[in-house]
């Protein structure tokens, strides 16, 4: 990938050395290749009616902005100050204590002070002060305020697309200032001017048209699932017929489309189907609600709502009782913290009850969506599933907490309980790097583009560093997770920093160990590699 060797990449990072020039004086920002995503294509912006749709080239001097762009941004800030108490309070109360500074994986990996969460926020806060506070108007630079000009705008763009909205800084902030919230709003402002990235706007347009980010059309989705089922038959001898757009099914199952497309997500998708088949669940896939993830969330709240609405619409059309959601990070942040507000009250569905164990999912009684890990943990707890854990004996597993289910939900025990029940070898990474303190994969919030591989490898360094620790200490060779973005971003991260560690969804591990009724003697895992002890056969 044209990157320096890992030890060289990080050796130049000095977290204690700050530039000699003050941060307001370092403009214009230098667009370093490997640190910024390519600009959005006009057709994708136009497809979802975004303003100022045109091909956007980041390094062009002229960003082809509307003449009144400054007014648009200032008005945009005003509107959001009036709409979001978060934004309003966060713009005012930061004391710059610096507790957040070294919590950000991008700061740790790059040493760029503008990646300290406090300074990232100050980039926008300085503009807010100039136009909305007395102190800023009176004292200007000495009041921490500055004019919004094209160079400031470019700087905002550069750095708010170097934040993965992971919320790790928010955990440590004594006032709960949430950089994710500030980044979300900063990106909303940038999107008022059509300043999006190709990697985000492409999937958004796809998702609007076909229902999923990858642009998988219905017939392709069906053949993909059937193809997976052929593999399942080869491995287990069991023929599964995936239910698609089936009206009257009890449960709608929605997962990120990444699980239908690429290794290792596809093994997780196979796992879902094997699990549901084994317990005889009456469920259906939907070709339209074929995406749980939401890249719209990385552009604006409105776009996120526009994309996510289809899920409940499909639940209504297919007359299901409730919904199970697969393993995904930001999809669960959206579902858990936003979707009920956007779409509710969800009175056309029933309060979720597991048809297998009878467990009422109290925590999902209003929005009627249960996480697959909650669902599976409950099955295991009730002894519904039988496992041959030795099938996973070649895997020495650690678990990466994905940012969104961690700090936007608190899903920690369920996946661990599952893993411990299906794997014999499980080791935790150090406490400061897991659970609510987990480090980002380096590619969340739409930053998993190939052209920013250097930024991703740097941002993913803290995570990889912790994996390397357990890799060296316990021989960990499998990094389990419950996020489709992780399954896309962690493999290259591991290849770069900790070769020999592979990435796996939790449900893949479940399905591999699960003894299915009527299965043949298994010799292969879901990846069609020989099971431990079956290498010679």
């Amino acid at each position: 990938m044209g990157l320096p060797r890992p030890e060289e990449l990080i050796s130049k990072v000095n977290l204690k050395k700050m530039p000699s020039r003050w941060w307001m004086d370092t403009l214009p920002v230098e667009f370093k290749p490997g640190f910024y995503c390519y600009g959005a294509k006009g057709k994708n912006l136009e497809y979802v009616n975004f303003p100022n749709a045109r091909d956007f080239h980041v390094t062009d001097e002229d960003w082809r902005l509307p003449d009144d762009w400054k007014k648009i941004v200032i008005e945009g800030i005003k509107q959001r100050i009036e709409r979001f108490r978060t934004f309003h309070v966060f713009m005012d109360i930061c004391v710059r204590c610096g507790a957040c500074a070294d919590k950000c994986h991008f700061f740790i990996g790059t040493g760029d002070p503008k990646n300290m969460p406090v300074l990232r926020a100050e980039l926008l806060r300085s503009v807010y002060r100039k136009y909305f506070t007395t102190g800023g108007k009176l004292f200007g630079r000495n009041g921490g305020a500055r004019d919004l000009d094209i160079n400031v705008l470019k700087e905002l763009w550069y750095y708010f697309y170097q934040c993965t909205e992971c919320r790790r800084c928010s955990l440590f902030c004594p006032y709960g200032i949430d950089t994710a919230e500030i980044t979300i709003i900063a990106r909303e402002l940038l999107n008022l001017l059509g300043l999006n990235t190709d990697w985000i706007s492409g999937p958004v347009a796809n998702c609007y048209r076909t229902g999923n980010h990858l642009g998988i059309e219905p017939h392709t989705m069906k053949s993909t699932l059937e193809f997976m089922c052929n593999d399942i038959e080869d491995i287990t001898g069991i023929k599964i017929d995936p239910p698609i757009n089936k009206k009257g099914a009890e449960i709608l199952f929605v997962t990120p489309s990444g699980d239908l497309f690429a290794d290792p997500g596809i093994y997780n998708a196979m796992g879902y189907m094997m699990l549901f088949h084994e317990i005889g669940l009456d469920y259906t896939w939907s070709t339209f609600a074929s995406e749980g993830g939401n890249f719209g969330f990385f552009t604006s709240m409105e776009m996120a709502k526009r994309l996510h609405t289809k899920i409940y619409e499909e639940a209504k059309r297919l007359k299901v009782k409730w919904i199970i959601g697969g393993e995904c990070g930001h999809m669960w942040r959206v579902w858990h913290q936003y979707h009920n507000t956007w779409y509710g009250p969800v009175d056309f569905l029933e309060e979720p009850v597991s048809p297998i164990t009878g467990t009422k999912f109290e925590n999902a009684k209003s929005n009627k969506i249960v996480h697959i890990s909650e669902f599976t943990a409950d099955l295991i707890r009730h002894g519904v599933l039988k496992f041959d854990k030795s099938r996973n004996d070649n895997l020495i597993v650690t678990f990466h907490d994905s940012c969104n289910p961690s700090r936007g939900m608190g899903l920690f025990e369920e996946p661990r309980y599952i893993i411990k029940n299906v794997c014999n070898h499980f080791y935790e990474m150090p406490d400061e790097t897991i659970r609510e303190q987990t480090f980002c994969c380096g590619g969340g919030s739409g930053l998993n583009a190939g052209e920013i591989m250097e930024l991703r490898m740097r941002g993913g360094f803290p995570r990889a560093n912790a994996v390397r620790y357990v890799h060296e200490k316990f021989g960990v060779n499998t990094l389990a997770n419950i996020c489709a973005i992780d399954r896309a971003t962690l493999p290259p991260l591991m290849d770069y920093w900790v070769p020999g560690v592979r990435v796996s969804g939790v449900t893949e591990l479940v399905a591999n160990a699960m003894i299915m009724k009527g299965e043949k003697e298994r010799t292969m895992n879901l990846r069609m590699e020989p099971l431990p002890g079956k290498e010679e056969e």
Binding site: F84, G98, A101, T134, F139, K305, R306, N363, S406, G410
Partner: protein, 329 residues
């Protein structure tokens, strides 16, 4: 940036009060007009700011969850760090406000030999706690200047604070602690490169201002012989709205009072408003129960989204060919 500027401004304020009282003799301006004005600005400014924040609605319920969620009955959940009830939120806020719980989590990241080390780092937490509590106790102690009879609770605080009876007048622990805490908070802005880089004049200014207040207070109590009776006459007059300017109060006191006035007046327009803001922070003061109880967005509006019918219209032929059920044949 701006440490010199902030320092010079505070020096200027001191000089201003000195010239105003000692040379120009504008004692009633500094004893009465400015303190009253400052308190009015503080009260109105504070309330206005909080109302302004309060007017911005909370469209989404987005707590930062710092522990296990409430889910299955056999999984122990984090009632304080990830509250699912109002009571849990109250506890979370209590620990946040009285013990700075988030700051207690603080860690330090260092890169050595290409490896990242993350270790515990409680200094900022200790420093912040020491500063805020000392300040609070000092403030409470000062109430005796504004009441004819000192209530017993203030006397108790007073005697605990002067527990170590070193010399006369007795030394208050809080005077020593706040001095040390302020020097630490200032020191990290000067010596910690990250904090230095993010600091603004508005970060140094309140530090110097409070250092000035503490220094003049300490000078008056332990070193300069000020006429406490006269001062109490003045402060009582202020409190009971019968202001008088007794003779024989030195300019040291007026400098002290002026700096306090500046602090009060500056407060609502500054980052010091974090005192009010921390109560309103939606990542801390909401329960993590979105899937149990719907949160309503007051400005929610309908959005254009794609309907299944449009989707099927576009893909119907392909769906039929693939044997996927459709609504319209």
């Amino acid at each position: 940036m701006g440490i010199g500027l902030a320092f010079i401004i505070v020096l200027g304020l001191i000089l201003f009060a000195y010239i105003g009282t000692d040379i120009l003799g504008l004692n009633s301006l500094f004893a009465i007009v400015i303190p009253y004005a400052a308190v009015v600005v503080f009260v109105i400014g504070f309330i206005r700011r909080v109302i302004k924040w309060g007017k911005s609605p909370v469209p989404f319920r987005i707590p930062t969850t710092a522990g296990q969620q409430f889910s299955l009955p056999w999984i122990k959940y984090s009632k304080i760090d990830n509250p699912s009830t109002g009571f849990g939120v109250a506890l979370r806020m209590f620990f946040e406000i009285f013990f700075f719980r988030s700051l207690f989590r603080n860690t330090k990241a260092e890169i050595m030999n290409g490896k990242l080390f993350v270790g515990s780092n409680k200094w900022l937490w200790i420093g912040a706690l020491a500063f805020h509590y000392s300040f609070l106790i000092i403030l409470i102690r000062h109430l005796r200047f504004f009441m004819l009879q000192t209530p017993w609770c203030i006397s108790v605080i007073d005697s605990i604070d002067s527990f170590w009876q070193i010399g006369l007048p007795m030394i208050y622990m809080t005077d020593i602690i706040i001095g040390a805490a302020l020097l630490y908070l200032l020191g990290r802005r000067i010596f910690n490169p990250q904090v230095k880089y993010i600091s603004l004049p508005s970060d140094y200014f309140p530090l110097f201002l409070i250092i000035g207040i503490i220094a003049t207070g300490v000078l008056m109590r332990y070193f300069a012989k000020v006429d406490v009776t006269a001062i109490k006459e003045l402060t009582l007059g202020l409190a009971y709205l019968k202001p008088t300017v007794p003779e024989g109060i030195g300019s040291l006191f007026y400098i002290h009072l002026f700096l306090v006035s500046v602090l009060f007046a500056y407060f609502p327009f500054s980052k010091l408003m974090h005192m009010g803001g921390v109560f309103l922070s939606p990542t801390r003061n909401l329960a993590n129960n979105n899937r149990m109880e719907r949160h309503v967005n007051p400005w929610d509006y309908p959005v254009k989204h794609r309907h299944y019918e449009e989707y099927e219209d576009e893909f119907r032929d392909k769906m039929k060919k693939a044997g996927i059920p459709v609504e319209k044949e």
